[in-house]
Structure formats: structure tokens, C-alpha cells
């Protein structure tokens, strides 16, 4: 009933949980599984890793998420756009019975979408030049 408002405090369900035979068997199995790590102190690395993850969660806030997700969306959207263009272009070219003549290719330049794409490509190169310049 009150799970949401008063989360269980650590250990509050402990004694009852440990009396459960299945839980006891599970803990014994787990102890056997991690024994090699415990005996060589290598389990410390796992604890340190968990600690690092917990630190990361504690330190992450809305601003961090906003920056991370902006980077994610930028990369995802760029990949999506380029992938779409490559897939559809490959499909259109692959479905053509004959490759277009030079004259037919030149006529493609009259298509506003082709011109917009060329404009974007040329602008892309200009920006690339700006960012790689002195």
C-alpha cells in the first residue's frame, strides 16, 4: 500500500528475506560464483565500478541530459538523413534498366530537389573548409 511514498529502508525486509529457502539457495549460489573474485580481491573492481556508476547517476542532472541528448540527436539525425539518401539513391539507381546518359544526368539539374541537394553538399564543403582552416 505505501510502497511509493515510503520506500523500504535497507535491511527492513532483511530477516524475512533471508529466511526464505530459495533466497538462501540463491545467495549460496552467488557466493560460489563470486568466490574466485573475492579470494583474489578482484571483486574490489566490481564494487569500484558500481560506485562509479552510482556517482555518475548522482552527478547527472537535467543540464547533463540536455547536452548528452543534443549530441545523440545530432548524430542520430545526421546518420538517418545520410542513410536515407544512400538507401533510396541506391535503390533508384539499381532499379534503372540502363544508366542515364550524360544529357539525362544534366537534365536532372533542373529538378529543384537535386539543386537543393547540391547546394547542401557545396555548403557542407564550405563549412568543412571553415572548420579545418587556420
Amino acid at each position: 500500500m505505501t510502497e511509493m511514498s515510503t520506500p523500504a529502508t535497507p535491511g527492513s525486509a532483511g530477516p524475512a528475506a533471508f529466511q526464505d529457502p530459495d533466497t538462501q539457495a540463491g545467495i549460496e549460489h552467488l557466493a560460489a560464483k563470486v568466490a574466485p573474485l573475492l579470494q583474489t580481491n578482484r571483486f574490489d573492481n566490481v564494487v569500484d565500478l558500481l560506485s562509479l556508476v552510482a556517482d555518475g547517476i548522482d552527478m547527472t542532472d537535467e543540464r547533463t541530459i540536455e547536452k548528452l541528448m543534443a549530441a545523440f540527436e545530432g548524430a542520430m539525425a545526421a546518420g538517418w538523413t545520410l542513410g536515407n539518401a544512400a538507401r533510396m539513391a541506391g535503390s533508384v539507381a539499381g532499379n534503372a534498366a540502363e544508366p542515364p546518359s550524360l544529357f539525362q544526368l544534366a537534365r536532372e539539374l533542373r529538378d529543384p530537389e537535386v539543386r537543393r541537394g547540391l547546394h547542401a553538399a557545396v555548403t557542407f564543403l564550405r563549412i568543412l573548409g571553415r572548420q579545418t582552416g587556420p
Binding site: M1, E3, T6, M69, E73, M76, A77, W80
Partner: protein
């Protein structure tokens, strides 16, 4: 002749479905045997579920907007034109510009319309967060209120067993409101009263539309000093005296009335004549498993537009979309639909300004509430800030 698939509605349901249809039917699409066309009344796509954050000044409009074309695969023909009339018998729609679009398969994902004007005085005196402009107005009021009483109401459709928009939203915003006012340092001078109507789908006198969640809510509200009241079905509002009257005979004063208002289908769906829903609400009769429109096997209904008992929310569309896609693909390829929707809805509830609670349910199983966590909150913030746009593209 190519099979024509027409998707009406550029919200989250229509967008992810159109993209997934192209992916699923790519051999047919690339060879010209299948075409996919989307009709939307806007060149832009808004992340509508985040309008509730606008009410707390957490998001601006531009952060929630992307060009619709940028979210669609290039194989989809995208047309900005509002559908004015559905002619299900003739397999065609007419748009506001007068154009006619025929189809072999139709996906109706036109959402719903918040309609506070359906309750006397609510439009004049009430606030809500289901559209951008009302959310902005509410934000201005919440940012300035120094003392008084914020009264929260929830209105269900009159159609039996059909929920209001986004089932968890009233709880989410009530908890966000509590923390927002605490951050402003004015919480002690402002009374928050959460109310719920007598009838909430199949339940009576609860605080939520599912029993288990309803049972945990009192202790949550009490721990935060939020008052709550069952059996308050908003009947009318007196804007001058700022009093909300219930159908049960109660009357309550308020300084801000934060409502989940009545909703209805869009005009073209209302006028289609296909709905038998009472109160002129317009929900399309939808097969709960195949998601086909009753009497029209080539028409599929998604999200808010249907009359199913599941939440009218993006998390519902996310689980309905694969069923619609599979059924259209299998109908084209083998002649009959093969997939069934189990009523599954998955979402991450915002429980206050920081914590989140992933939740899921279906036709058979209700949400099992568990403690909200910071990690759940970070997941919700990640959806809000970026993952949503991958979902719209059909990538997640």
C-alpha cells in the same frame, strides 16, 4: 497498379507508423508496388506530451518542434493538407484544399482535441496543459501565484470505458506542481486539491483509473500535504466567483483551476458518421486486437482516435504501431492480417520534477506501482530531450 497506403495524421502515431511501413515493405516500396503517403495539417511536428513541462517553464515551444519532413523517410510522400472528409465507403478522403486521395489501406491517427468549452465556464476560468498556448498561460499563472488554492479536476469522456488524455498526466502534474511551488518557496501558502470523478472507466470513487495505483495515492498525497477528494465530477464553473460545481452537488472555490478537460475526435472524424460514441465524442469503433475500423477491414485506427480502453498517449501508439504495420504488410503479402494488439502501453511517468517511474500495462494486467527513482527520472528526461525523436523515426 501500386497499393496505396495513406496515413492521416502527423503526430507520433502516424509518423512512426509511416516510417515503419516503408521499412517493413521496403522491397515493394522500392519497386513501386506500394506507395506510402502522409497527410498532416502541419509542416511541423510537436512533441505534445511535453506540453505539460511548458506549464512549469521547463521547455520552450521551439525545443519541442521539428520539421515533419525531417522525421520521415524520403520514400514517403508528405503532403501538408488537412483532411476535411473521410469517405470510408469509397476508400478516399477529401482535404481542405479540395484534393481527393484514394487509398487501398488507410491509417487514421488524428489524435483528439481538448474541448474545455464542453463544460460551462471551464474555457473561461480553467487552465490545462494539453496544448501549447494553454500550457503557457498556466505557466504564467503558476509562476506568479503567491497564495491561494489550486484545484485539480479530471474529466472522462462520456463514452463508457474510454479514458481521458494520457491517464497518468493528472498525477504527474499534481506532483510536479507540489515540487514547483516548493522550489518557489510559496508551497505553504498554497493549498493543492486533487480531485477525481465518481466514474473513472470501470472504477467508482477512486483517485485513478486503475485500482492498485489508486490505493497507493492517498499515502503519497498525504506525505506531500496534497489534499484529495473522490467523487468530484466537474459539472460547471462560475468564472466570476471562481467556483467549480460538481455533478454530485459539491462546490469548491479556486484561484487556479488546473483541469484535464473533456476531449473529442477531430472534426473530420466526428463528421465521418463512423462513430457511435455518445456525447458527439467521435471515437472510432476499433477492433481491440487487429486495430481495424469496424466494418472496414482496410482501415486501421491508432492512438487517441479509437474507442479502446487504453491510455490516449504516445506510449500506446508505440505499441499499436507495429501491429498496424504488420497487419497492413501481411494483408498486402498474404491477404489477411496476422498481428494482434494486447493492449500494452509503456511509459515513464514523471513523478515530481526529478523522479520517474517506468510503467507498463495491458488489457489483462494493470500498472504495478513501484517507488519512483532518480534513474527513472533521468530516463524520462532522456526521452524528452532526444530519444523521442528516434522513436518518431521508427528507430526505437
Amino acid at each position: 497498379m501500386a497499393k496505396r497506403i495513406l496515413v492521416v495524421g502527423g503526430g507520433i502515431g502516424g509518423t512512426m507508423t509511416a516510417n515503419s511501413l516503408v521499412h517493413k515493405l521496403y522491397p515493394e516500396v522500392s519497386s513501386g508496388e506500394v506507395t506510402v503517403t502522409m497527410l498532416s495539417d502541419s509542416p511541423d511536428h510537436y512533441y505534445k506530451p511535453a506540453f505539460m513541462y511548458v506549464a512549469f517553464n521547463s521547455f520552450s515551444k521551439n525545443e519541442l518542434k521539428r520539421p515533419q519532413r525531417s522525421l520521415l523517410r524520403p520514400e514517403i510522400q508528405f503532403v501538408v493538407d488537412k483532411v476535411a472528409h473521410f469517405d470510408f465507403a469509397q476508400n478516399r478522403v477529401r482535404t481542405q484544399s479540395g484534393a481527393i486521395y484514394g487509398y487501398d489501406y488507410l491509417v487514421v491517427s488524428t489524435g483528439c482535441v481538448p474541448s474545455p468549452e464542453r463544460i460551462e465556464g471551464l474555457k473561461e476560468a480553467g487552465d490545462h496543459f494539453y496544448l501549447h498556448e494553454p500550457a503557457r498561460q498556466l505557466a504564467d499563472r503558476l509562476a506568479r501565484i503567491e497564495k491561494g488554492r489550486i484545484f485539480i479536476t479530471v474529466t472522462f469522456p462520456k463514452t463508457p470505458n474510454v479514458p481521458h488524455q494520457c491517464g497518468i498526466a493528472p498525477i504527474e502534474t499534481t506532483l510536479m506542481l507540489d515540487e514547483f511551488l516548493r522550489r518557489r518557496g510559496v508551497r505553504e501558502k498554497i493549498e493543492i486539491v486533487y480531485t477525481y470523478p465518481t466514474v473513472s472507466q470501470l472504477l467508482r470513487n477512486c483517485l485513478f483509473l486503475q485500482k492498485q495505483t489508486c490505493e497507493v495515492l492517498p499515502s503519497i498525497f498525504e506525505s506531500k500535504g496534497i489534499r484529495f477528494k473522490r467523487g468530484f465530477t466537474l459539472g460547471r464553473v462560475d468564472p466570476d466567483r471562481k467556483i467549480a460545481y460538481s455533478e454530485e452537488g459539491d462546490e469548491q472555490d479556486f484561484d487556479i483551476l488546473m483541469s484535464t478537460p473533456p476531449i473529442r475526435a477531430v472534426d473530420a472524424v466526428l463528421d465521418s458518421g463512423a462513430s457511435q460514441a455518445p456525447n458527439d465524442e467521435g471515437w472510432l469503433p476499433t477492433d481491440r486486437e487487429t486495430l481495424q475500423l469496424a466494418g472496414h477491414e482496410n482501415v486501421y485506427v491508432m492512438g487517441d482516435t479509437g474507442d479502446l480502453p487504453v491510455s490516449k498517449a504516445g506510449g500506446t501508439c508505440h505499441n499499436q504501431s507495429p501491429v498496424v504495420v504488420d497487419n497492413i504488410a501481411s494483408s498486402i503479402r498474404i491477404g489477411y492480417p496476422t498481428a494482434a494488439y494486447d493492449g500494452k502501453v509503456i511509459a515513464v511517468a514523471q513523478m515530481g520534477l526529478e523522479a520517474g517511474m517506468p510503467l507498463w500495462y495491458d488489457y489483462e494486467n494493470d500498472v504495478e506501482p513501484h517507488p519512483p527513482t532518480k534513474l527513472g527520472g533521468l530516463l524520462r528526461k532522456s526521452v524528452n530531450r532526444g530519444l523521442y525523436w528516434a522513436v518518431a523515426r521508427g528507430l526505437v
